[in-house]
């Protein structure tokens, strides 16, 4: 598609090959606040970026419309769901194609990953959001989210210990 080619060419010119994590953090931070303040991605507040919640909204919106259920959905997603996660996939795909990093890799843990996906999205929805939104909420001033971030850190430490001792995987 010509549009895709143009975008990839443009992105390749504008974005350097290597982007530091700090650059990502700053740009993502500005976007997360910017879409709430200037583009009305609310309510709820501090909802600009949340991979888990936006996925929840998207799936729940689909199921609600197809099956007539009344699953929980954020007010901002009522008419049309937020499509951050779709954008993420498209953007990452384009970046991988542009830099010749797209290749089929099978690490051999398919069903384990599948189960982790189920567990993570459930934990994330209960915990107010994915790690990104927990930081966003904390910055917004929600002390409960800050407490959850502390829990998140404990969980990561536990997981890292399991990984380093070779207990998991």
């Amino acid at each position: 598609m010509p549009f895709v080619t143009q975008f990839v060419t443009l992105a390749g010119r504008v974005v350097p090959r290597r982007v530091s994590a700090v650059t990502y953090g700053v740009i993502a931070g500005l976007l997360a606040v910017g879409v709430q303040v200037f583009f009305g991605v609310k309510p709820p507040p501090a909802y600009g970026i949340c991979v888990a919640c936006h996925t929840r909204d998207m799936i729940a919106w689909l199921v609600n419309h197809l099956a007539g259920t009344h699953w929980e959905i954020a007010p901002v997603s009522l008419i049309l769901p937020l499509l951050t996660t779709v954008g993420l996939l498209i953007g990452a795909y384009l970046a991988a194609v542009r830099n010749h990093e797209r290749r089929k890799v099978a690490l051999g843990g398919h069903w384990r990953s599948f189960v982790y996906g189920i567990l993570v999205v459930n934990a994330a929805i209960v915990a107010l959001g994915c790690p990104t939104r927990l930081l966003l909420l904390s910055a917004y001033g929600d002390m409960l989210a800050l407490l959850t971030v502390a829990g998140l850190a404990v969980g990561i430490l536990m997981g890292t210990i399991l990984l380093s001792r070779g207990i998991a995987n």
Binding site: A11, V19, S20, Y24, G25, G29, V33, V35, V37, V41, P43, P45, G48, I49, A52, T55, T69, P75, L80, L83, T84, G87, L88, L89, I90, G91, A92, A95, A96, R103, K104, V105, A106, S113, V115, G117, I118, L119, V120, A124, I125, A127, L128, P131, L134, L135, A139, G141, A145, T148, A150, G151, L152, V154, G155, I156, L157, G159, L163, S164
Partner: protein, 164 residues
């Protein structure tokens, strides 16, 4: 502009940058503990500092209506925790008077989120990037991620209702 379109465009930008930077907010702490690599941790810190500053500036300019973040999806029922007349720079110490069950569930869910994400090899953002890059495991992870929303509504939510 329509929020769906705005977030779609934002997502494309984020996805592109995330693929180039290999960002992972879970991986930050993991890498630091395992190999003392602070690159990803700095990314998470930069995100937090940037959002804090941006919210403070936007709040000082009167662009933010300070409402307590919704615990679930319904923000309309939330009380106003901070009005525009108060200084917006300091974070509102608001949501800790929610009761012990909510606090416990939030912290336990946070621990579970950190643990499972670490074992799954990355936060949800990173998994999206890997899936788009062609990693099969992450494609399966995404399948679980989508099915997990169904599981949440059919199993987890009724279970949580027993706690509250």
């Amino acid at each position: 502009m329509e929020p769906a379109l705005v977030t779609l465009i934002m997502g494309v930008i984020l996805g592109y940058l995330a693929q180039r930077s290999r960002i992972c907010f879970i991986g930050g702490l993991r890498d630091f503990v395992l190999v003392r690599d602070t690159e990803l941790l700095k990314g998470a810190a930069a995100f937090f500092v940037t959002t804090w500053l941006a919210f403070s500036v936007a709040g000082a300019l009167g662009l933010v209506d300070w409402r307590a973040p919704a615990y679930g999806g319904d923000a309309s029922a939330q009380p106003v925790v901070m009005d525009a007349s108060k200084p917006a720079v300091a974070p509102a110490s608001s949501a800790l008077d929610v009761g012990l069950p909510v606090l416990t569930v939030a912290v336990v869910a946070g621990i579970a989120l950190g643990l499972f994400s670490t074992l799954a090899n990355g936060c949800p953002t990173r998994q999206h990037v890997l899936a788009a890059q062609g990693v099969r495991d992450s494609v399966f992870y995404l399948g679980g991620f989508y099915l997990g929303v169904v599981v949440y509504n059919l199993v987890t939510k009724p279970l949580l209702a027993l706690v509250f």
